[in-house]
């Protein structure tokens, strides 16, 4: 064991490095582990319009900071002649458009691209705001609020259930005359939400109004919808002001927190903001790339995605070769399958990518069988080694051509893909198979040929597995893990499965 310690240490380091790198890319950059590649991307455009009075104009539009359940991908400010700055504004951000002189109706645009993240129960992360002061409701209202609060308090366990029960009761008509008098508190959805916040403040529960946009593909002229958030001393809990239902609705982009005006215009009037929404599908991988750029991470700049697409496609294939090589290690050193040449089956498996499995096996067997027959005929001519190998190679190419032509005429276009077979490898296989045939008999030759074909087929299945190909392409550092595993198997001194058969006499003798 001590002898193997350096191997174990190096292997452990390699595997840890590979796994850590992969974990970083999954967690920090959001690269997907599974090849289910598409996610919804929303593009929201806010059109802020106002009437300028002819003098200097300053328009401030509140824009989302960190909408729960979404990640920013990109944002653009579009205007004609305005200077744009962006600044923090309390819990929101603000975009400022300014111009020295403007007249008439003006419109500026803010375009935001976000994608949905897979967080459960998304919510705001900002801290506990402190307990609110009990507002001055006025004498008659005060009594009704107190009655309502007492009633709800007796039916609830904690802040969340209290708030929920309160909202539900406020929304129910005719339950209680004192509550009914409170239901007149708001005539617009925004005012109603603010009124709920005020009533909650009577129980010293911190709550606030948030405004969001329901994301529906193709929406035009949409406006923001109010929602409520209640803080339970640990986290903000979003609730519907109509039902008290906990949690944000699906596809709800929180645009701003609080009741500060969405658009404030100095030197203008009639501010109006309209939203339009479009939805698209994008690959998570390309989203991660954009996001890494926004975060200033260099990892993806030096990833395969920064290469030209053609080169990417080459690596898409090349990176599967280590998988096949590892399979060969397993099958030869742990199982004990005999093959012609160490990695010959992998090259055959690469050719199977184009022909697909069944056709690949059929064509391979056909070419090797025909080639073997002609090779035995050549044997009678007593040729020297290199000219004989060259002859076999030429014969192999002619056979491939023949198969292509015949299959094309028969209308089986799959047969054409035989052109992608590695012909030198085929020629060497035929040569070695014929030698084994002569020296060790037909059985041994067929055994090794069958073994090669079996390994090639298994290699094809592994190398074309969508999950594995996705993993090695998006996370090439996983090859370090594979390398570590190879090092460990390099010191595997246990029995091969085939040795249980080879030493069956020992097993039979000792197991009685």
């Amino acid at each position: 064991m001590l002898r193997n310690l350096p191997v174990w240490i190096i292997a452990a380091l390699l595997m840890a490095a590979g796994a850590a790198m992969c974990a970083y890319k999954v967690r920090a950059l959001g690269l997907p582990l599974l090849p289910s590649t598409d996610t919804a991307v929303w593009t929201v455009e806010a059109r802020a319009a106002f009437r300028a009075r002819g003098g200097p104009v300053k328009a401030t539009l509140l824009i989302p900071k960190q909408p729960p359940g979404f990640e920013h991908l990109d944002e653009h400010y579009i205007s004609n002649g305005f200077g744009v700055t962006q600044e923090a504004s309390g819990l929101n951000r603000a975009a400022l458009w300014a111009v020295r002189r403007a007249n008439g109706t003006q419109a500026v645009y803010y375009r935001l691209t976000v994608y949905e993240t897979d967080t459960d129960n998304p919510t705001h992360q900002d801290p506990f705001p402190g307990y609110p002061r009990v507002p001055d409701y006025g004498e008659s209202t005060q009594a009704a609020v107190n009655a309502l609060l007492n009633e709800v308090r007796s039916e609830s366990a904690d802040i969340a259930t209290f708030a929920r029960a309160l909202i539900a009761r406020m929304n129910r008509e005719g339950a209680n005359p004192s509550v009914d008098s409170l239901r007149t508190g708001g005539d617009s959805p925004g005012a109603w939400a603010q009124w709920l916040v005020d009533v909650l403040a009577g129980a010293r529960i911190p709550a606030r109004v948030i405004w969001g946009l329901p994301l529906v593909d193709g929406t035009r002229d949409a406006t923001l919808v109010p929602y409520i958030e209640v803080h339970n001393e640990q986290r903000w809990i979003p609730m519907s002001p109509e039902t008290g239902k906990v949690g944000l609705p699906d596809d709800f982009l929180v645009w701003r927190i609080g009741n500060d005006p969405l658009l404030a215009v100095d030197g203008g009037a009639q501010p109006d903001v309209r939203f339009s929404v479009t939805r698209s599908q994008r690959q998570i991988v390309s989203i991660a790339r954009d996001r890494a750029r926004q975060h200033g991470s260099l990892v993806l700049d030096y990833s395969l995605f920064s290469l030209p697409v053609q080169t990417q496609n080459v690596y898409r294939v090349l990176l599967t070769v280590p998988l096949g090589a590892f399979l060969v290690v397993l099958l030869r050193n742990v199982v004990g399958v005999k093959t012609f040449g160490t990695f010959m089956p992998i090259l055959i498996a690469l050719a199977f990518r184009e022909t697909k499995l069944i056709w690949g096996i059929v064509l391979f067997t056909l070419i090797v069988a025909l080639g073997l027959g002609l090779r035995f005929a050549l044997e009678r001519l007593k040729l020297l080694l290199v000219p004989r190998l060259a002859s076999v190679l030429i014969i192999v190419i002619l056979l491939m051509l023949l198969v292509s032509l015949v299959s094309h005429h028969l209308g089986m276009d799959r047969g054409l893909s035989i052109a992608l077979f590695p012909m030198v490898i085929l020629a060497m296989t035929i040569e070695r198979m014929s030698l084994v045939w002569e020296e060790h008999g037909a059985w041994e030759a067929i055994l090794q040929g069958g073994g090669s074909l079996l390994v090639a087929a298994a290699g094809f299945l592994v190398m074309s597995n969508p999950l594995l190909t996705h993993l090695v392409f998006v996370f090439p550092e996983l090859l370090l893990v594979l390398l570590g595993a190879c090092l460990i198997l390099g010191r595997y001194t246990g029995y091969r499965l085939s040795e249980f058969w080879r030493f069956r006499a020992v097993l039979a003798g000792k197991d009685q």
């Binding site: 007593k382 246990g494 029995y495 040795e499």
Partner: protein, 317 residues
């Protein structure tokens, strides 16, 4: 039902992976391989050390020199052609007699001069050598094998394989050609391996195609009970071969010649595992005992004594 791996480990069976990783890689220095892979070099070294080997008639190094084969052979009627870098007995051609321009193979079939020349040409082009490198063809004395194995060998030359670990002989078997092995004494090719009791030099039952056999599949004669003449001398010869090449894990192939006694045919840096089946005994107990020893005697006599002593101590109960 117990796990098969446990049974094999308890029986001390050395696996292919362990042979490669723990014995060949750790005990056989890579730079020493050419000494045994090149049979010409082995022969030279052996002759310098006074170890008996089959006489070398000559070497064919070029295509052109094939034509001079007749001169090279001179009066010798029987001879063996083998690739200097051959492996697994491939490419070895045994000619037992010459009749005009035709040659009689060990199997009794005839071969034309053209066939022979083509065979040598194949050897030169590297068809039988490790890695397909161009090679030389050796032409040497055809061993007139001792008749003691006559009943249990189907043509060809039987030889005695001994595994020598750090100079200590740990196991032996006699390899007997069969019809299936085409006169070759290679277990891969279907030859029979019969175990040898190291202490007495008596053959035991054996193995053929990994299955246990008690009789020769072609002749039907029992394998066990043949006493090998000069067994002590043979063990000593095997142990001395360690001094030639300093390969820690070595297979020594010896043939018994009617006139010349035991001759070293070749050394093998990667001897196979079937010797364990032939002897019905795993190699691991002896190998591990030798690994644990701090010093190993320098004289070959003492190493042979040590090997016999180990076998008694690690005999399966």
């Amino acid at each position: 039902m117990r796990w098969p791996g446990t049974i094999l480990r308890e029986a001390g069976i050395l696996s292919m992976n362990q042979r490669n990783a723990d014995y060949i890689m750790l005990n056989n220095k890579r730079r020493l391989y050419p000494l045994v892979d090149d049979k010409l070099k082995t022969k030279e070294l052996a002759q310098q050390a006074g170890i008996a080997v089959p006489e070398l008639y000559g070497v064919v190094k070029t295509e052109h020199a094939i034509g001079d084969l007749e001169d090279l052979l001179g009066e010798h009627r029987s001879f063996v052609v083998k690739p200097a870098h051959g492996s697994g007995g491939n490419g070895i051609l045994v000619i037992t007699d010459r009749r005009q321009n035709r040659y009689v193979k060990a199997s009794g079939s005839m071969m034309s001069a053209d066939d022979l020349n083509h065979h040598i040409s194949n050897i030169l082009s590297g068809m039988f050598s490790l890695g397909g490198m161009p090679d030389h063809a050796m032409v040497e004395y055809c061993v007139q094998f001792d008749p003691i194995f006559e009943d249990v060998a189907f043509q060809g030359v039987p030889d005695i394989r001994t595994i020598v670990f750090r100079g200590v002989p740990v196991a032996s078997m006699v390899r007997l050609p069969t019809r299936a092995s085409d006169g070759k004494a290679n277990l891969h090719q279907g030859a029979v391996g019969a175990g040898i009791d190291m202490a007495t030099g008596l053959t035991q039952s054996g193995v053929c195609q990994n299955a246990r056999v008690t009789t020769h599949p072609d002749t039907g004669a029992p394998l066990a009970g043949i006493s090998i003449p000069g067994w002590d001398k043979l063990l000593l010869l095997a142990a001395r071969c360690y001094d030639l090449a300093a390969l820690g894990y070595l297979g020594v192939d010896v043939v018994l010649d009617r006139e010349h006694g035991p001759l070293v045919l070749e050394l093998n840096a990667r001897p196979g595992l079937s010797i364990q089946l032939a002897n019905r005994r795993g190699l691991l107990p002896a190998l591990k005992a030798i690994e644990r020893m701090k010093t190993i005697p320098t004289s070959a006599d003492e190493r042979v004594a040590l090997g016999l002593d180990l076998l008694v101590r690690h005999a399966p109960s």
